[in-house]
Symmetry: C2
Amino acid sequence: MEAGEPTSLQIEKQSLHDQVASRIRDLIIEGHLEPGSRIDEAKLVEQLGVSRTPFREALRTLAAEGLIVIRPARGSMVRKLSRADVFSMLEVLAEMERLAGRTACERASDSEIAHARDLHERMLEYYRSGERMPYYKLNQEFHTFIASLSRNETLCEIQGNIMARLKRIRFIGNSEPEHWRAAVDDHEEMMDALAARDGQRLGDIMAHHLSETWQRVKNVI
Amino acid sequence: MEAGEPTSLQIEKQSLHDQVASRIRDLIIEGHLEPGSRIDEAKLVEQLGVSRTPFREALRTLAAEGLIVIRPARGSMVRKLSRADVFSMLEVLAEMERLAGRTACERASDSEIAHARDLHERMLEYYRSGERMPYYKLNQEFHTFIASLSRNETLCEIQGNIMARLKRIRFIGNSEPEHWRAAVDDHEEMMDALAARDGQRLGDIMAHHLSETWQRVKNVI
DNA sequence: ACACCATATACTGTATCCAACCGGAATTCG
DNA sequence: CGAATTCCGGTTGGATACAGTATATGGTGT
């Protein structure tokens, strides 16, 4: 959701609660805060070296983003995703990516498509050398980039939000070799469709890609 | 502070910032706070009779929802939607409703479809008697209900969020009689498709319905 | 007239206090 | 002896006062 514009010359005059929110987001995504675990306000405030006010503001933000749950007078906890939660997110995300794929083919410039190709090539290398983590990072970037080609701000925002919520789970997902291979094949097809500017096909592949993710992931939860 | 939903026996143990957030949300949606206008923290705090702490937490929530914009050290303002913003939201919303329509046909019970029919009939009456406001309210409820039939929590959440952002604009939208009539016709078709459990068709109509909304609205912004 | 500086007016962040509430433990009663 | 009630500790929620800082405004000097 944040991660805004590195392009603009804007001074990153982020307010403290934004920084705190980003920090906690990372802690959650990277697994330093277990899903379902209580968030000890006093302890985290101590660790981060900020006072309670901006910290609590940050918690409200994360709650609105759906990353944590706040129960009045009982503190907040990292949101634990149920099977149904994950399925519903993937179902929505699939349609988001379908839309992104369809419109990207209409709205992207040639150089942007070339850049997508470049990202894809680099992912291929990481796949061949079996480096999961860099592949995973690039994968995120690839999907985010395709979304941006839709020129649809709202779509980017929602896609980013859902991906943030699912990050840890998706990472777990492609641990098995054959799954990983299938994912890479999908990406190959995506690049074909994008190069041919076949929006319908690209959208279908991207949606299908996520239904495969569900197959991958559903037994792990 | 009339909260409004006495529907379930749910304990109304809402924390203060939630109440404040709802209150401000209503102020924005009902137009008491103009888009683009600065939000005078001190004044609103005074009016609402709360202190700054829950108020600012509420602002953070609304910012995460996209209803207001907070610029560090320069205060917050009601988000002003550009043409592109509205288009992007409608484009996303259309896909959301398409998904809702498609899956609703698979997952809804007969009695739920009957309830949708009931909502539709009541809307028809308001249409015939020309009562815009009650029609509008029921219209919101109708679309929200269809979304709920998808059994997809995430979809409901996002659809609700986008609808909240667009509420004022959509209300402006159907001021012209012929547009209103077209909208009613769409709803008639929706009910047909839902009754026939033709998910593809229902999804298409609902998406098309929103592209009409864009045609309605685009000149007003 | 324009530029620059000083002051005023916010908004942001901190610290502290008190009240309300949840959960568990101890006590009491059946 | 078991169960319900009560009490208490710890945590969260809300209010307020205060300090720091950035923006904006207005005035002054060239």
